[in-house]
Amino acid sequence: MTAAKKLAEPEIHVLPNKRILVVEDEPLVLDTYKGILENESTGVIPITRSSRSKKTTQIDRNNFEVIYCSNADQALHAIKESVTLKKPIAMGFFDVLLEGSRLDGIELVKEIFHLDSNIKAVFVTAYQDRSVDSINELLGEEYSNRWDYLNKPFSQGEILQKARNLTSVWNLEREKENQDWIIQDAQSRLMESDRFSTVAAVSRSVCHEFGNLLVHISGNAELHRNGTETEKSEAFDVILKACDTAKTILDKLKHLSQSPDFEDQKTVFDINTPLNVAIRLLEHQFQTQNIKICHIKKDTAPVFGNPNSLLQVYVNLFINSLHAMGNSGQVDISVDKRGDQVELILHDYGPGIPKEHLERITEPLFTTKGNDGTGLGLSICKEIIEIEHGGTFQIHNHSSKGAEVKIKLPVTKEEVENE
């Protein structure tokens, strides 16, 4: 149902990951890196804000785990191994001019970015022989947020700053991926349960009708099987009529249980068709709660989309109204075709939506029904109307009484298919 791209389950990493790669062909420079990155402490002394405080604290040691390579092949080997062993490297320092290597620093990073989709890179260059623009051009726009650069000679502070910043970014990105995935997973479970609760509400209504129809059938069969020909014939008529009614209800119920996921279920239909099905499915519930359905205006309007998704929207909205109104009330329905748009208004005569909830009411997971609601009903309605059908979905309180839902959908020029 959701139009958003589905995330894949992220790999599990032990966080924080402080693995760093250093690729440098000059042994002397390599030693400098070692001196900076493997020091017991960061050497960074934070500036205290109060001038009176003379106390200074040294930040804990960085605990970087550093892998040193003196050429491109060693570096590629280290990356491959880190990927296979699922011990990813968070960031690397790359000398741009790698003497004696088949690849220079930039070509190497490009290949590394192919192998590892998360690692960050810092180019370290002595002669400023590569401008930022030329690196960007060589690596391409897609990698622009994965690298940074530093001119030689570098200071201890600069190296530590880049190392700490980029390892932090790497770790925060992984945390975010995990969080996003957890949220998406929870949402999809909730959507599923909300669909079931919609189906449950409808099934209560339908269950009652089926119970009655089966009494018509079995009662007439039992009472009249030994009756006169006329009695039998009358009983058969009642039975056949009950079967027809049951079939009609069953057909409508099937629409609701069909998954609205498939694009190929999109078709041209009259906006009233799913609306009438929704009313029919909840008819018994409306009757039991003494709720009148009042058609203010009933234009026909062909729309292109998924009638089953729209059926879900209407059923959801009606169930909200049924909840809100309790044991008596009215729902006014208006279908108004205006040029190339059709406006559908559902107005109930319940207590309306409390002011403090109005803004948040279509947010996912927002619910006023406590444990009875998943808080997805209205957000799914909004998504179906706006994302799946390119319309607008608004909900507000009516100036006189109750809540009003306004749905606008584009009208299609195609003819409605005969069902």
């Binding site: 009652h208 009655n212 009642v238």
Partner: protein, 146 residues
């Protein structure tokens, strides 16, 4: 229940908003030999009958879900009315045991039996025996045999 019913003289109220279901219940009851059957199309009408002290009521067979007033409302009205102290109540429902809260409520108001839709004549008979007692069953079998 030691009281012996002369069931043919029992007065029964049948309440259901579905005319055909009501009709079938009445046909079964007639087949069992009951003569005094009152029918109501919804709970609201049934409440009027319950409040009318001139009307004798030994048993009520009522649908649960109905417009205006539901079966539980009718049951409560009977249990609150001191003149209806001996009236038995059979609740007819298509919900099975799913709606536990509702069933608990009905139990609190001392519902005598449930009849789950769809039901057969035999099931209705069993429920009547449960509610009215074994003497009723003997009389009923004699009636059906004759």
């Amino acid at each position: 229940m030691s009281k012996t019913y002369k069931y043919k003289d029992l007065s029964i109220l049948v309440v259901d908003d579905d005319a055909m279901v009501r009709n079938i219940l009445i046909q079964f009851l007639t087949k069992f030999g009951f003569k005094e059957i009152i029918e109501c199309k919804d709970g609201k009408d049934a409440l009027k009958v319950v409040q009318d002290s001139d009307i004798k009521l030994d048993l009520v067979i009522s649908d649960w879900e109905m417009p205006q007033a539901d079966g539980l409302t009718v049951l409560k009205a009977i249990r609150k009315n001191p003149r209806r102290g001996t009236t038995k109540f059979i609740m007819v429902t298509s919900q099975g045991s799913r709606e536990r809260i509702k069933i608990t409520q009905a139990a609190r108001w001392k519902v005598d039996a449930y009849l789950v839709k769809p039901f057969k004549g035999e099931m209705l008979k069993e429920k009547l025996v449960d509610v009215l007692g074994e003497d009723f069953e003997k009389e009923l079998n004699e009636e059906l045999a004759s």
